[in-house]
Subunit: 370 residues, 2 copies
């Protein structure tokens, strides 16, 4: 299709991180993009970055509007954009879908001209300067057509998702909201609650923290203002996941406290909960959208100074082995670290031998004998 359905151009309303990134990606694909933002500074910056040209009053309607404003402002903005005929059709990029869909139905004269959208991409930073031309490359981009949605709206929004390099996925607004509540919003909130427990305890308790809890709470570092807005806009679906989790937590508490019929200190009940977690974890998508693969880890000891990683990866490259993932673990109080290289099962032997030959010290047992 090569953007033919977007021949009338795209207007991006809201030139923050997502709006600017959409503009940059569509410009890269040769689409005519106009930009609108009530903040003149943000608009000027997006224009300067090459995300599109300034929208001119009384211009002909664009083929599609992409509304990229905060979730709670999305529905009313879409309705205004459609009713004012800034574009023939409209989509959005808000991280919740039922809320704006309901508002558009209530507010717009022709709600069928709108289809909800949500590119599954973002960054911890915001504003037009954080915009990236490749922000959506390879990421899922959810579209939420409903019974009353005009097929032209879907066709044009699909075209935007494809031209932006994303992988389009369609589902209902309710399914979308339930999915992101499950795999993003509720886990984020729970991680923040776990981290919130670290505010009061004395330092010596926190000194024992290792890499595990650091992973569990990493997302808690994100912007509380943006996330409280997202959670509030998807409150129903998030509350549903959290209620289920609360019941699981009660089961865990029962197991820990012992109860009638408990003969093993809750061990069996706890093992069942943990096994369920292990099974659930295996269902998360891995690299390249495929089911999570089990890699083999080759661990190497490195000095903590410039050039060591370079030398290591040069030697890894010469071994001809593809590294799937890398982690660096630092040891408290010591100027050395361990670099863990994940490789496809079977590749660890060749890699280990090559690195030993190159003078590296492996962190782990001797290589399995053949």
């Amino acid at each position: 299709m090569n953007g033919k359905t977007l021949a009338g151009g795209v207007i991006v309303v809201g030139t923050g991180l997502l709006g600017t990134s959409v503009g940059l990606a569509l410009r890269r694909a040769g689409v005519d993009v106009t930009l609108l933002d009530r903040d003149p500074a943000a608009l000027a910056e997006a224009v300067r970055l090459g995300a599109g040209r300034r929208h001119e009053p009384h211009a002909l309607p664009a083929a599609l509007a992409v509304v990229a404003v905060p979730p709670t402002a999305t529905g009313s903005t879409v309705a205004a954009v459609l009713d004012d005929r800034l574009a023939e059709y409209a989509t959005d990029v808000a991280s919740v879908k039922a809320l704006p869909a309901g508002e558009v139905r209530a507010l717009a004269a022709e709600p069928g001209r709108y289809v909800g959208g949500h590119p599954m991409a973002g960054r911890e930073v915001s504003g037009p300067r954080a915009g990236l031309v490749d922000l959506f490359d390879g990421r899922p981009w959810v579209l939420c057509p409903e019974d009353h949605t005009d097929p032209q709206a879907v066709t044009r929004a699909l075209e935007v998702a494809r031209l932006a390099g994303a992988v389009p996925v369609t589902m209902s607004p309710a399914d979308h909201d339930a999915a992101v509540a499950l795999v993003s919003h509720a886990p984020h909130l729970v991680a923040a609650l776990v981290a919130g427990r670290f505010v009061e305890p004395p330092d010596h308790e926190l000194r024992l923290a290792g890499p595990g809890v650091s992973d569990v709470t990493r997302v808690a570092a994100a912007d509380p203002g943006m996330w409280s807005e997202i959670l509030a806009a998807n409150a129903g679906a998030v509350a549903q996941v959290l209620s289920a989790l609360r019941a699981d937590l009660d089961q865990a508490l029962d197991a820990l406290r012992g109860g009638p019929g408990d003969t093993d200190g809750g061990k069996t009940a706890l093992a069942e909960l943990l096994s369920r977690g292990s099974a659930g974890r295996r269902r998360l998508p891995g690299k390249h959208g495929a089911p999570a693969t089990v890699y083999v880890t080759v661990a190497v000891i490195v000095d903590d100074r410039p050039g060591q990683l370079a030398r290591l990866f040069a030697d890894v490259g010469r071994a001809g082995v593809n590294v799937e993932d890398v982690r660096i673990e630092h040891r408290p109080g010591q100027p050395v670290g361990v670099v863990e290289l994940d490789v496809q099962p079977g590749a660890e032997r060749a890699l280990g031998e090559a690195l030993l030959a190159a003078g590296w010290t492996m962190h782990g047992p001797a290589l399995p004998s053949s």
Copy 2:
């Protein structure tokens, strides 16, 4: 001291991952180590790996016994080792401390000859072959002396911790158990509960999962059998953290569901919970035991094939910039990835310029202008 207090040798009781690693580390330091395990195969393997020599019946008592058996068997094993005079003093490596301490007080004729210990190190794998000579290098090793503990027991256990390369930390058994419940056991259990929610939903919901939830649930992949034993052995302290979390969860649910006086859809209450999480997260120790540092991320686009990481790190090395951490993000469905390099604030400009000059494509906005 150089192991002088251990001149009578150390007996390691239990030659799994931890016992074998203790033996390997003490042998490296020149200490005479004897090994004991009721599983003849595990014992033979540990001897073969060089963790020590076989304990001989009727040998003179060792200077110290290091008991490395499962948490629930630790107290009775320590008492037997002391009463049978296999060693003058004893310590252990169990990940809980109040349970074995109480059992030793109840069972041993002279409980003062025991001091509890817990090296904060481990692996996802087990058995003597998983043992590592440097498993404890730079890690905290907690010792839990009590009022009745003989100072000689503490001196000798401290010597083991130091010779194994660890950083000794002392606290009471109760403080230890509260600390590991807070920073390890409860977060582990909660991560497993979050992941347990992924067992039932349809595939399309899980397809939307991204790197955030993958971090939150990473630890849920660990062995449920071992972890149910740890949690059961520290049930009281874990239940206390979980109860507090349950109250936090209820606050979050109240905020999501709205209530009397709620005029903003719970946004303010949610923002407060999230801000608390962000503050707690900042208290976790970072690299080298120092407070967590905020690094600046330089993101580079790489092809997903052998040699690319080598070339990248060679160029990073030539830039003379020390990389603090590395993450590789894969894009679903695409043969490219993004390598995120964390560097000290101020170093990102030099690194970015060097990599641009070397022909790399940066993933992110243009470098900040000076």
